[in-house]
Amino acid sequence: MAEHILLRHRDNKEISKLPTYRKGSGFSAFERAVTKLNPEEVTDIVFDSGLRGRGGAGFPTGLKWRFMDKNNWPHYVAVNADESEPGTFKDRELMESNPYQFLEGVMLCAYAVGCNDAYIYLRGEFWDLAHELDKHITKLHKEKLLGDQLFGTEYSLRIHTHLGAGAYICGEETAMLESLEGKLGQPRLRPPFPPSFGLFGKPTVVNNVETLANVPLILEKGAKWYRGFGTEKSPGTKIFSLSGNVMKPGNYELPLGTTFRELIFEHGGGLREGRSIKAIMPAGASSSLIVANDVALDTQMDYENVPNVGAMLGSASIIVIDDSVSMDWLINKTVHFFEHESCGKCTPCREGTYWMKNITERIHHGEAVWDDVLLLNDVATNIKGKCLCALGDFATEAVTSSIERFREDFETRVPQSRPKTEVKLSL
């Protein structure tokens, strides 16, 4: 891509400095919004741009803002900077290297939904980043871009950062709100959804970092301009976090609708010599495994097309898997992750991930029989669709898809007859 919309620091390193960001029309969108537009107009522009949430679910951002309950005040914005999905590392780069564009996005969102206090919830490991953000926020206060009665209007805004304590589940929006309230990070029942019952029980917009980083340029250049990128239903550009068995892993900002092939082979430099591509996980550890055939490689990466090859785009953390990897190893990794991260609130996920961990461990170490593979599949199926939040489902995606699509990997792992081991008697 010629010019970046999000990773603009790659075009201009100095953009992380406030004067530079301001010189390049930074915060003009915010000033114009606060002084010239009413909140609904800002929301309308974002709605018209077709921007969809980058946190995973792809929910239309403008629509979410419109859902805010106007009969219940105050309103809050809670930015999801928990970025804990294995293979996802885009929000961090944005916040580190193009912080003011991100913050301006937060500010525009806050103005659009009538919020005077916005919170940025960062995963605990981002403590140094939070410290930097705090400094940026202080500068914005000094420059009267944050604080009371901005630009001589009645509008006031403050931004607060908040660190998590290291739990993947706190990226789930309602668990994040609980954690932000100082409680144990466990998801809430939904409905009610945050726009009607959010932080401290008040209407709250939860948006991902990348989602909001899109907003300043949408406001500046217009919805039509934004729709010039990407596809009709998935407009705009997206940061693809590429990792796994590729030559050049990293973040790539490309229009939605770019093919897997282009990302992996043109931008990512392809695979190592002598290796061939076996599978793709497009949404980090929460992903189903796509069989990396030509159809898959030519599939466009957007919210509509990825499901055609049996997966979801999610947060677009593309993990490339080559032919050196056996899937029993891979799911042993993902299942361990989810077992470790299950919050424990609901039965199938809490008990099921632990059970799956034991079985995959046995399969991976060649201590299982074929029935164990079937059992694993069954346990995963029993978790799926029965949990309180999506984490339970996430834990099963790689398991069931790999057993279905890469059956040979398991067949070779599991001896035909039970290995001779000592019979342990319980008691």
Binding site: A167, L184, L189, S342, G344, T347, R350, E351, W355, S426
Partner: protein
Amino acid sequence: MTEKIAVAVAENLINLTIDNREVSVPAGTLVVNAAKLAGIDIPVFCYHPKMEPVGMCRMCLVEIGRPAIDRASGKPLLNKDGSPQINFGPKLETGCTVPVSKGMVVRGYTEEVTEARKEVIEFLLTSHPLDCPICDKGGECPLQNLTMEHGPGQSRFIFDEKIDLAKNVPLGDLIFLDRERCIQCARCTRFQDEIVDDPVIGFSQRGRALEIITFSDPGFDSYWSGNTTDICPVGALTTTDFRFEARPWELQSHASICNHCSVGCNTTLNTRREAKSGGDEVIKRVMPRQNEQVNEIWICDKGRFAHHYTESPDRLTQPLIRKGDALEPATWDEALQLVGDKFKKSKGKFAALAGGRLTNEDFFNIQQVTAKLGGKALLDSQMAGGEMVAQVGVGQGTNLSDLRAGDVVLVIASDLEEEAPLHWLRIKQAAERGAQLIVANPRRTKLDQVAHRLIRYEYGQEAAVVHAMLDSFSPKRPDQPASVKQLLRDESVKAAAEDVQSATNLIVFYGSEGLDVAGSHTLASACANLLIATGHVGRSNNGLVAVWDKGNAQGAWDAGFATSVNLADDLAAAPNLYIVGADPVGDRPDLAETFEAAEFVVVQELFLTKTAQMADVVLPVLPYTEREGTYTNAERRVQRFYPAISPRPGARADFAIAAQIGLALGLELESKLASLAFEQLAARLPAYKDLTYGKLAETFEQWPIIGREDLYYGGTTYDNTQGLGVQPPSGAERGESPALSFEALTDPEKRKGLLAVPVTRLYDLGLTVTTSEILATHWEQPHIVLSPADAEKLGLELGAQATIKLNNMQSPVAARIDNRVPKGVVLVPRSVGLHIFGPAPIEVGA
């Protein structure tokens, strides 16, 4: 009474279909509850009908379909046959979190649903230790029952891979946690948080490591902890009292009533015969019994754990007669003969002093004896006003659960959680439902947290507060003292007066904080006047409630007893004394002289109390657990309890003894059957007219539906099959016009120095508490509570030993410091051995 439920919900009914059955329920009803009402079981673990749904356990998954709506027209889409098209979602839904909607179709027993249940049970059992044979819950365990009903029968989980967790974790000294058995349903933590606002336990960690921990020091510090063991759907939480003590199937159940305070919680006493008690029947545990108008399905820990006095070996089992300095065993005939002879000769110089735990039948018979002898019938209490409660007490059909927006509750001079725990709970809930709660007390109490309006006054001004409220909307009386005039300017008093005037329903609770008998009487009469002046008497959910210090104080007043303003004088004036269920000498050593000087003293008691030791005749009695009877609670509900264990040989019921004494006086009182004694009482006391034991034993369907077959729903609380009691009409409802005096007030005397005021603590050093060893660390030791300023002035630090001089008695106490105590005031708990009967000057020394 089932119609009553139906009438209440008649508006806003939603029709839906559950398993092919047409069901009509109020809007907002959750699917599981709708099913329950229709007699269809959707199993649950985490859901509890008294708490907000959380959707955690996933046991209640069902198929839910909703009528398809045409987007364009907004009209329902129809099938070819004209029936509405129903859309089922792609996933099962949790019936405990989804409210019913019009035309909904619920399928609770399809293959997919039964499979899902099987899976959830299989998941739960992967970490459950399955140690039912040694588990206290075994036999009454929802997990066990639902596994039998819905489980897969076999597990595919390898037993060796179960994780081992700690099995004997003391959360506090009353409750133990078995971490392996916990199924993480959060019922216990939600109960502590949502229901009783004591969030002292919670989850820590995550995933399989999720564990219940306590945040308080000492651990699980709450008056409510026992309830968590009832609603825990497994054997993860057990009480120190019952743990490893018996199996549920060995237990007999007996309906009873708690008499520790005047709420009158309905309980079930579980008993068994056991070898270690020499083959005797023993009470193994006290469980709540559902009465949605009284205690719902809860009891406090005092009610649950302070029951051990029944089994005490120190109980009296033989009449004693004084021979010189000694009390010597005698036969009942000898003792009764002597008592009869002596009483006959008492010639108007007679008084009976009875404790507030006796039954209505006891009070009635004792009162008859007393009247025959022209004596005074005195109630042993520091509160007064029962005659006013009889007149303008809450009307028939009162249920605190009915109070909501528009209604007002005024609580004055009471630390309600300490004095009557369940009243605190139900008023808190009323406030949360929107009823306006006004709390008037000289210091902050726990009830303040949910109050909408707070009135602070100085100790001694309690009645003045009520007078000021009255004066603010009626012609001011010029003779009011300065304190009333000053309170009239208090914004919170003015606002409270407005609340009270415009209240749809008004209930006034008055307690005993800082009061003596005279003060209590003045306050009660002020409150009664407030209710009358604002038209809040003579109907349900309106009237006066006394937060009595004992379970059946109201019954005593109804039978003609009254508290004495000057007990020492009243006793001294009647040298023939008949003391029943009271220990005046133990409570106030200064009365020893009066008893020394008395002519003839008869004491009816369980134990050889200080007073009994000074008696001429001691007659051994049966505790309420070994007999039957009725109590009248603070809300004037007459409730019946049943014998739980066989009477200990040698002892007799109080009413029977009184009847036998009466015989010598020519009285024909019932001495055998409590039910007949009650008949005589009902024939004489207008308030109890038409009541019979049969009526008191009636029940009707209650919501939530809980009970023995239904363990998974409400927990192990007992279903009420033996009587919900009856609230008879108050005097005002019977058309009697209340004969009330309007007590003139005077300003409290100006004082120098510190003022001691009596306060009530739940775990005082009363006999019932101190005979229950498991409460030992909770017993209130003699202490005082001071403001930080006074403590500093006296050079006292927190926990320091101090000496007090109070009512001519010197006592060592521990000093506590609390910024909720006003300056110049020293709180002195009642019934911990300190000499406090009302506000009094106190000297405190380091």
